[in-house]
Amino acid sequence: MESTLLSLAHGFAVAFQPDNLWYAFLGCLVGTLVGVLPGIGPLSGISILLPVTFGLNATQAVIMLAGIYYGSQYGGSTTSILMRIPGEASSVMTCIDGNAMARKGRAGAALCIAAVGSFVAGTFGVIMLTLVAPPLATIALRFGPPEYTALLVLGLIFLAYMSSTSLVRTLLMACIGLLLGMIGIDNMTGHFRYSFDLAELGDGIGIVPVAVGLFGLGEILSTPSHKVRGEVISPKFRELLPNRQEWGESVMPIARGSVLGFIIGIIPGSAHIISSFLSYALEKRVSKHPEEFGKGAVAGVAGPESANNAASTGAFVPMLSLGIPTGPITAVLIGALMIHGVPAGPQLVTEHPDLFWGFVASMYVGNLMLLALNLPLVSVFVTVLRIPYAYLYPLIIMFCIVGVYEVSHSIVDVYIMLIMGVLGYGLRKFNFDPAPLVLGLVIAPLLEQSLRQSLIMSNGNYFIFFSRPIALGLLIVCAVLLALSALAFALKRKDWRAKLAEAEAGEAQG
């Protein structure tokens, strides 16, 4: 423990060198921009700037590139809150309540809470990284396909809590999402499924085009048929900040989101995407006012935004302590280290303590910088809402198209987004919530792959899910959740969904 603190102090000495401070700032700045602009995600941001770091030393390079990664998680909420366009897959859930808050004139508050939540979660993640990285990373390795399968089953059960409309509608949307997720090459046999001879569909339907289409474009298409607000919201500076009640409502969700996100972030693979979904569902489950979700619940912004930030820090655990690239972003970072002659691996801490601790310390500093960078920007971003819709919306559509094209330079993605935009419009008209569809799309390929990988490992024996402790534990949680729901049903007690249905019925009449 003492040696950890000593090393960390040494790390701060490295991080506070003017050069390193400057590159941390640069990384955070670029990361914020990358997060704000839809389409260009952290992955492309980092790889575009990779050649720039060839002239730097390894510590500076990794400080800057990592800054882009965690910085982008701060900015990702901005377009979600203001325009209902998810900049990255991990900010899909922020669209729902963040944008609803903006409609109530609380855009500034939502942005502030997102920034502060990100800061708390990011810092929490770094502290955990400092203290417990090596033992945790070894446990994370035990998270193989069977454990993944069990986690995703839990995710599917949480689906029921995703939506503000009825359970039947939620499940219908989730099924469509799961079916869309089946499109693409079957990883196990190589067969193309539902690809209509388009090689572009081989990798399946991307999350970004679907989310941008359903949320962003669908929203814009349905605006002309709403009563357009005449007055422009121009909040005073004091109103930009969250009020006391909003702070109070966001404390626990930020705390829960930080822990949940960090745990999920450590798991190798693409699990970080589902961290914000799971956090949203969790908040709704524990909330005393679940009916407020979808109508601007503060917890619906605070939880997921904290979770995705903590997850991005958690992803550094296996990378730094084991040297394994668990996802494409950490793969680019490891590549950057290797180009500079620093092999990332279990010996990184002992062989290059300057780099390791300097990097960890730079993340403490970087998170502070991001907070300082993002809070003043809130007032700037909110002024975007003052632009009349007639000018703003065509611009947003252009942004959506350019952004979606940039993800993998595919015109097919743009068509998918446009089709999803029309679908999103229809869904809104008929009061369906698109969030479960997106979650279904995220889960389907992961669940299918890990289920079939598990069965390869066990030679077709389903007992594998019950013989591994972590998987068994997760499945028991699933069973308990289902049993609780069944019990509530059996006792004929009205749960929140029934209450909600009544509330909705009342609203429709009124």
Binding site: L37, G39, I40, S44, I46, S47, I48, L50, P51, F54, L141, R142, F143, G144, I185, D186, N187, M188, T189, G190, H191, F192, A199, E200, G202, D203, P268, G269, P318, L322, G323, I324, P325, T326, P328, I329, T330, A331, V332, G335, M338, I339, H340, G341, P343, A344, G345, P346, Q347, V402, E406, S408, H409, S410, Q449, R452, Q453, I456, M457, N459
Partner: protein, 326 residues
């Protein structure tokens, strides 16, 4: 918007405007060159392609942009390049698995989207030697123990790979065929996940590039049993090659540069000459060595010959895998 793109686009537009009055038919290149990377960022092509593009820029005095067109295990990017205008402004960087798409398509009774004949090889840039590793929970000291155990207990061990018919699956299939053994295949979606699987003992065997596995081998988490290179790798002098052990298998992960069929010979020659300068420069060599790759430069003629031989082997590997029942 992609910053490099914007810069590249602006620079190219400015250059075109400035130059037009005097040289209507300018010497190649007169605008930005695009190198298509058919894999997600961070993959083997990306880490080789970006330093290469950065080095090519000052030589051709035009922006060189690496454009990601990922999809279908590298098939989408290759297809885009095959259909691009053959003017030397769209190039492709790809891996050995490129030679397998035609065979895979035939296996499934599909019309191939492109064949090897749609491309002109320009040069081979790097060559990464491959190694067969087991994790530290396995008892095998050498390849013979592994093969003997696999013969006694077929389908007991699991090997992971970056994906079906991918660059890590093909050499494993060639080895199993040569040794006459069977192991179960655990496909994942990338080199990183394949490595994670063996470290977590979700698979026991992996054929990997030495680069990707080197730190884990040093840490004792993975044990190398055999190399796929023609002679022992400099970084692993104690690990025998498969050839030495009596298995006729050679395989490496190379990164090659290609142009679409119909690209003028003068353009190919120009690109070949500039590529040679880069590939033989010390700076590029240091970067590749750091990555664990070896600069395996082959000029156009040598690469074309090598590619023909390599492709036969890849096709044989695809056929030995055959259709997978799932």
């Amino acid at each position: 918007m992609d910053r490099r793109h914007f810069v590249a686009g602006t620079a190219a537009a400015a250059a075109a405007l400035a130059v037009r009055p005097t040289f209507a038919q300018d010497a190649y290149p007169s605008r930005a060159i695009t190198i298509i990377n058919p894999f997600p960022p961070g993959g083997a092509v990306d880490v080789v392609g970006r330093p290469f593009a950065a080095a090519l820029e000052p030589l051709v005095k035009q922006p060189v942009v690496v454009e990601t067109k990922a999809g279908a295990a590298g098939q989408v990017g290759a297809q885009v390049a095959a259909n691009a205008k053959p003017d030397g402004y769209t190039l492709l960087a790809h891996l050995p698995s490129m030679s397998g798409f035609e065979a895979v398509d035939k296996l499934f009774g599909r019309t191939p989207k492109f064949t090897r004949a749609d491309f002109i090889p320009i040069a081979r840039l790097t060559e990464g030697p491959m190694v067969l590793v087991v994790n530290d929970q396995q008892p095998y000291k050498d390849i013979k123990e592994l093969v003997d155990d696999c013969k006694k207990n077929p389908d007991k061990l699991i090997f992971s790979s970056s994906g079906l018919y991918g660059a890590l699956h093909l050499p494993a299939a060639l080895f199993m065929k040569a040794a006459g053994i069977k192991m179960r295949h655990l496909p994942t979606n990338g080199g990183g996940p394949a490595l994670t699987a063996i470290l977590g003992n979700n698979s026991q065997v992996l054929v990997s590039s030495i680069a990707a596995a080197s730190t884990q081998m040093k840490a004792g988490k993975l044990r190398a049993l055999a190399c796929f290179s023609p002679k022992r790798a400099t970084s692993l002098p104690n690990v025998p090659t498969l050839k030495e052990l009596g298995y006729d298998v050679e395989f490496s992960i190379w990164v090659g540069l290609f142009a679409p069929k119909g690209t003028p010979a003068a353009v190919i020659a120009k690109l070949g000459a500039e590529t040679k300068k880069i590939a033989t420069s010390d700076q590029f060599k240091t970067m590749m060595t750091n990555l664990g790759d070896e600069v395996g430069y082959l000029d156009q003629a040598a690469f074309a010959k090598f590619w023909d031989k390599d492709a036969k082997q890849v096709e044989a590997a695809v056929q030995s895998i055959g259709l997978v029942q799932g």
